[in-house]
Amino acid sequence: MDEIILDVFDASFRYPNAPAYSLKHINFQVRKGEFLVIMGENGAGKTTLCKMLSGIIPHSQEGVYFGDVTICGLNSKEHTLPELCQHIGIVLDDPESQIFTTEVLDEVAFGAENLEIPTDEIQRNADWALQVVRMAGYEEKDPTRLSGGQKQRVAIASALTMQPEILILDEPTSQLDPIGTIEVFQVVRELKEKYNMTIIMVTHKSEEIAQFADRVLVLHEGEVLAMDTPQRIFRNKEIVDKAWLAVPQVSMVAVELEQSGIPLDAFPVRLEEGVEVFSALLQETEARI
């Protein structure tokens, strides 16, 4: 059986003065090395869930919190944020507000310095992290002058320097242009494939994640509406419509075909799969003549 690295048990959260709970009775588990994508409408509770999974709730965000989040065997209530940070890293959507220093290397070292880690170890980890995010050579550059994609990669490196086992990315590409988006997704893909890192990512960009998401968690009005493979989620019209999910166009074509009474052998979520499935369908019917 796969090792459970993150466990959320009956967790609820309400912001101070808010009339309603932002998250209600959330239950799910994440396996080591898994790539989990969180989708849902704005206001569904995605960012709040990221805060809960990373320990920001209850340590840095006030509010009413019930339930248990266990990160690498540590209950987030019983351990401090600096302790949790060494197991779980988080990258926020706004690249600007995560930059504290005037040089990339300092930025990447910032968290580790605060933890009083010896400088030679920081240097080693920072070098590795910058290499992973393909920003080696930018050590002395001013992070505020980088492109959006580069800033987000520096933010990822900053989290990686703390050597976490889980990485959470809260809409890391929502403010980026297509090149920046591709750059960030390439890095995330490498982290999964080469380093077997557990990754949890919030995003609306279904076409980009379809290739490497193991499962999709759909949040709707603070509750888990569904949690399944991208194929099953994107095929389920009821869920897609209810949560206003942005579905890859390949999958939309497939859904439309199925609706018009044409059965498909497989359900495509990636472009290449679509080419394969639809071409096979056409060739098959042609062969029958």
């Binding site: 409408e41 704005n42 942005a246 074509v253 044409i262 472009l271 080419v275 369908l281 060739q283 019917t285």
Partner: protein, 279 residues
Amino acid sequence: MREPVIQVDHLTYTYPNGFEALHDVSFTIEKNDFVAIIGQNGAGKSTLLKNLVGLHKPTQGNIIVDGVNTREISVARLSTKVGFVLQNPDRQLFADSVEEEIRFGPQNLKLDKAEIDARVEHAMEQTGLIRLRREFPMALSAGDRAKVVIASVIAMQPEIIILDEPTTGQDRRGCAQIMDIAKEFQRRGHTVIVVTHAMSLVAEYADRVIVMCKGRRILDGPTAEVFAQEEKLKESFVLPPQVTRLARAMSAVLPVDHTILSTQELSGCIAARVQANQM
């Protein structure tokens, strides 16, 4: 031949620090068009928009908006001809209620009260904000905040409306609602210019696409024609919508004589072929 509403004539724009953001750009936008301007960050899109609304004045060349040279008109006067919806609503929302927020622009134009009321009402109606009129704008959802900003521009009753990356950070519902408002604005006889990175929305809504790259206009034409030029688009790091690429990749088994822009088009083509074969 339709009436031109924006004429950009050999526009070059250089920032005070010497950076040339736009180089010899010329094009004409006709009345009632829905134009998408696409390209990477740094391609000169924002600089171009700022020139169109008069925040920047051309270093060389001229821009004629609705018959007036942008050099000869104040930003405030120009705002009644061409409305500009900025990307981040948080950079302009300040009033206590949605209604007050929308009222701000017409009030600045010193119109009489009845006219202001009518405009505010009309703008809220067009953007579906009537039920939120008393709400505090900054506390609204991202989608509704964007709508308030669009309404506050519509209330200026401009001939042309420009939207700068209106769907950034929006979910699918927000994207659809915002683009539908723009489409409705066009349907009422106005002109829409939108800058965006969302190619599927460009394919769905725009009639014409202008591709910017390194301060130059490298492609311009009807949406289907522009998205057909995959090689040229690649130079400026633009990918056509997934369905367009899918149709292209399948052209060997499914020859189609035009560029596919929507999923319905493609599924329709496939279904028609399957059914024809089954006959």
